[in-house]
Amino acid sequence: MERTRRLVIAALTWPVAAALLAFCVAPLLVLFAYSFFRVDFVTIVPDPSLANYIRVASSPTYRGLILRAIESGLLVAAISAVIGYPVAFFIAKRGRNAKSALLTLLLIPLYTGDLVRIFAWRVVLGAQGVLNSFLLWTGLIREPVRALLFSPFATHVVLTYNYLPFMVMGLWLAFEALDDRLIEAAMDLGAGAVARFVRVVLPLTVPGLLAGGLMVFVLVVGDYLTPQLLGGSSGITVISAINDLFGTAFDWPLGSAIAWTLLGLLGLMGAAAAAAMVRSAAARAMTAGG
């Protein structure tokens, strides 16, 4: 009985694990190997050294690009959290019968393609766009604001728009698990709105915040199209640099080294977030530890 069950479980899990290993881990390992090689004109020479990593670390350009990617990720995650908290609260606690409809609405932008969303935003933010036309009409501005499009502003607006649903989903789940009576109890004990949020809601929704935040962060760091199509001169990102190295520049080893540096940093941040989640008050409350 027990043996059959274990066999069934193994039969169900191993193919998935094998597929993951073959299609996900293996290419990364290939890149990892490449990152120690070097290029001689048009051939990749397997001559292992740390030269590529040293180049990444010593180049202000690559360091700057990696840093900017991480900054963007953190910034968009933070903005998403600020917007996401009230939205998630509303859906979970005031949504009532409209809950599933609201969640569907939230996800609808994800059903359309990246390009569709990006071009829609071009229509909104362009010099002759919806926003500028409106501002001109109200008389608040006399000239169209050109900085709206093809700027870091445009990139971050659209990145936030794109990945907000992931933050809201994470927070929504946390709010669903949050007992309303705890909020009432805090009110009963004299807590105003701010104290209720800081002392009860925030600590108990930290797992959702971290899960949503990590997702937004990783997606923003890896986003390539949005900065490219909306960022203008700021559109060069670490991802586009990797793309160039693998493409026109034909320097796969350096591209791999940048990719792995980025992957390593993301891994570290993910691990830190996971550790924070495990040690968060809410998680401790669930497991009744220390």
Binding site: A185, D188, G190
Partner: protein, 369 residues
Amino acid sequence: MAPGDLPVPAEGAGGRPLLRAAGLSKTYGAVQAVRGVDFTLPAQGYVTLLGPSGCGKTTILRLIGGFERASSGLLELDGVSLLDVPANRRPINTVFQSYALFPHLSVEQNVAFGLTLRRRGRAQIAERVGRALAMVQMLPMRDRRPRQLSGGQQQRVALARAIVNEPRLLLLDEPLSALDQRLRKDMQVELKDLQRRLNMAFLHVTHDQEEAFALSDWIVVMRDGRIEQQGTPVAVYHQPASAYVADFIGGANLLAGQVVEVRDGRATLATALGIFEAGCAPTVALGRPASLCLRAEHVRPVAAGGIEARVAHVVFKGAEWLVAVETEDGSRLHMLLRHQPPAPPGAMLQVTFDPDAAWIVDGTIQAAA
């Protein structure tokens, strides 16, 4: 004692009661949860809101706590309206039915929650939290988290968390319903004891009449969003205001009949088992259906001269025997006997009751149910 009287003289300036509700109502869409209730609470004493689920008793507690807004009516604490005061500004604390302890905080932090919000000094907080935890015998558990505690222990922490703030009024929402029978009995004694020691006002919501009797100085019986009767436990038990109260409190024998005479607080009732005269509730009126209310402990078998009845069944309850008998016309009477009944099920016997212990109430249980 007539309904509306206070068990203890109201304290405060000008003899004002601590809390006053008048015409208090709450409507949710088409549902009228509370339909214009009037009552007052004294500054000290244990008052119970008693009624079946859905009678509006919890809604009243939530209105007083500030978690719901009244649809109409008046609610005053010390003569000042509470209606526009948010829950966090009311000097009232609640022990929630599910305790609602903060899972991310230790026992000590839970109890200190209210005091830290009031920015009391560290030393004062520690001292008061320690005292409150000692009062509910939870001092040794102060570093634990709620999930590491049993139901009874969580209950005590919830109690400490509320009383540590020294509220003017403590609200308890079915606080013992999640505990097992024995623990519930122990906690009843402790709650009553605590209220006496703190000399505070407790308002306790329950559907359990035994619990209400064990705790209360004053009971408010609710039905369908209205107050059916309020009075001391003894008055509510022995002089129920209606057939509904008589049936809900202790399941009295109720013999339906017609009122043939009412005079000086006494009435004469014609029932299938004969004509009886007894004290009556003020609502009893001539020509209306009414019921003779007989507590099971007041019915007893006699050798001769009683009402003919057949023993339907016998239940041994430990200290007593509960015997159900059926009269010729099909009326069923319960009697509570100290000794083994004189006849087995199926046998005939004669029963009688003490007319001084009988009481006549308006309505019948068929109409009330």
